[in-house]
């Protein structure tokens, strides 16, 4: 059985509709959403209502959390003060637009969803704000999956889709306890684990304009990244019309999303 995993919809209705259509065309009915339904984009209510109508299993993203609880991210959320300022404008606009019913929906979303050996989160098992970037320290990446007691960890937040396999690991340690004269030496094998990042439907940061998501085949254990074209112009016009920062439209149109990328790939969020 196949399931689709989508993330970071960011109030971009044309992109969400195009991705859901692509999923439907493949005959996939099992969809999991990793949050960030809102933020940056111009149609927050419409996107939430579409996800609610389709009863898509969804966990809470950092934008969803902040719209409900207020901004409390650590410094790692934005690469610059300018980007942070833009983010705060979008945050305020989104907060003003959302209906009470939709805010309540976001507030009740779970932090994580567990299905068998798969764990679905927005950022990492530690926090919705933590970036699991594709080239982060491999041992730290493995620790995130292992501590969460999962075999495959599905995440989003970075807006860059990837599949990372961590295998053939081992660690040897030498231990001296003060209450023992012995020095112990131990070597242990590390489990094979996988991190799958679904990328972003509504605000891709892979250098192109296409929306991305992933399809997981439970039978073969294979994961495939899907790219979907959508009417970018429609979203850009809506961004301008809504009075959101124009740079959001410029980035979507040109696929220049690296402007919002976290700078430090090795950063481990301590929020």
């Amino acid at each position: 059985m196949k399931q689709a995993v989508i993330s970071c919809l960011h109030a971009n209705l044309p992109a969400v509709e195009a991705v859901l259509k692509d999923i439907e065309l493949q005959g996939i009915t099992n969809i999991t959403c990793l949050g960030d339904l809102v933020g940056y984009g111009p149609q927050p209510n419409e996107v939430i209502e579409l996800i609610r109508d389709k009863r898509i299993s969804t966990c809470q993203g950092c934008w969803d959390e902040d719209v409900v609880d207020g901004l409390d991210a650590c410094d790692c959320s934005y690469p610059s003060q300018l980007a942070e300022k833009r983010g705060h404008i979008a945050h305020q606009w989104t907060t003003d637009q959302l209906t009470k019913e939709n805010k309540d929906f976001l507030a009740k979303l779970p932090y994580s969803i567990r299905k068998d050996k798969c764990l679905f989160v927005h950022g990492s098992p530690n926090s919705q704000h933590e970036y699991l970037l594709p080239d982060m320290d491999a041992f730290a990446a493995l620790e995130r999956v292992e501590t969460a007691r999962a075999e495959t960890l599905f995440c989003g937040h970075t807006h860059q889709p990837y599949i990372r396999e961590l295998a053939n690991g081992s660690i040897a340690v030498k231990v001296k306890n003060a209450d023992s004269k012995d020095i112990q030496e131990k070597e242990m094998d590390l489990p094979m684990r996988r991190i799958v990042n679904a990328g972003s439907v509504g605000e891709p940061r892979h250098g192109g304009t296409k929306a991305t998501y992933v399809v997981y085949d439970e039978n073969t254990n294979e994961v495939k990244i899907r790219e979907v074209e959508y009417d970018v112009e429609l979203t850009c016009k809506a961004i301008i019309k809504a009075g959101l920062p124009q740079i959001f439209a410029w980035r979507l149109r040109n696929g220049f999303e690296f402007a919002e990328q976290a700078e430090d790939a090795s950063h481990v969020c301590e929020r």
Binding site: F139, Q160, G169, I171, L190, H206
Partner: protein, 236 residues
């Protein structure tokens, strides 16, 4: 001159033990820096005399550099220094009576000083924490999975992590290790082999049990105040 760090924790108001350690350190050769890694206070003893001494050391004593620990965190939370938080971890684990005992064991005149203490120190390539940079209550021991210990070292970007929360004295060295990583994204596939860096986590003990660290040679000594030290553990 040899540079040494003396790392102590878990005094919980015990001025006698602190004086015994200070006496020990007077006899220890080298240029010694004294770090107190939290839990200076506790619920069982009146802690005011010890706190007063830590703030105003005697002229012939080492001046301690202190950070806050789990018990200080609980007290500060309960007295409103941590926003809306209260000492829930203490309340759940030990009960309301212990919360009351803690409040009565520290005079409120010390709260501002306790609140001014740092979470930890990073000295050279070493992290000095009560628990870890993840949490003041992070209970790291020699039985903690190495992957977790490596994560705590990575978070802090240090090669040595001195931790006190477990109260245990141990030296765990990450000797070697390897992992294969393969990333597949829209740019294609890339493989990488990563090795475990040579790092260590050291449990410094609590109360009379403390640790000496020789900065120049990376040697660690576990000491019990008033007794001869354990055999020196060579640095790696």
């Amino acid at each position: 001159m040899i540079e040494r760090w003396a790392l102590i924790s878990g005094l919980k108001g015990d001025l006698d033990t602190y004086e015994l350690i200070q006496k020990d350190l007077k006899k220890t050769p080298g240029n010694i820096t004294l770090f107190v890694l939290g839990d200076m206070i506790g619920p069982s003893k009146n802690c005011n005399a010890l706190l007063k001494r830590l703030i105003n050391p005697k002229s012939n004593e080492l001046r301690p550099q202190c950070i806050y620990g789990w018990w200080e965190e609980q007290l500060l939370a309960e007295t409103g220094y941590r926003g809306n938080q209260r000492a829930e971890a203490l309340r759940i684990n030990k009960g309301e009576e212990v919360v009351k005992s803690l409040l009565s064991s520290v005079d409120e005149s010390f709260l501002n000083w306790l609140a001014s203490l740092q979470f930890g120190f990073v000295e050279l390539d070493c992290g000095l924490m009560h628990g870890s940079s993840r949490d003041v209550g992070d209970d790291l021991t020699s039985e903690t999975p190495p992957l977790t210990l490596l994560d705590r070292l990575t978070r802090l970007q240090v090669n040595r992590l001195f931790t006190a929360r477990s109260t245990k004295q141990f030296h765990l060295q990450l000797k070697k290790g390897i992992i294969d990583s393969e990333v597949c994204d829209l740019r294609g596939n890339r493989k990488q082999e990563q090795k475990v860096p040579q790092k260590a986590v050291i449990g410094i003990g609590a109360g009379k049990n403390y640790t000496l660290y020789d900065v120049g040679t990376d040697n660690t000594q576990f000491v019990q105040a008033g007794y001869k030290s354990e055999k020196i553990i060579k640095g790696f």
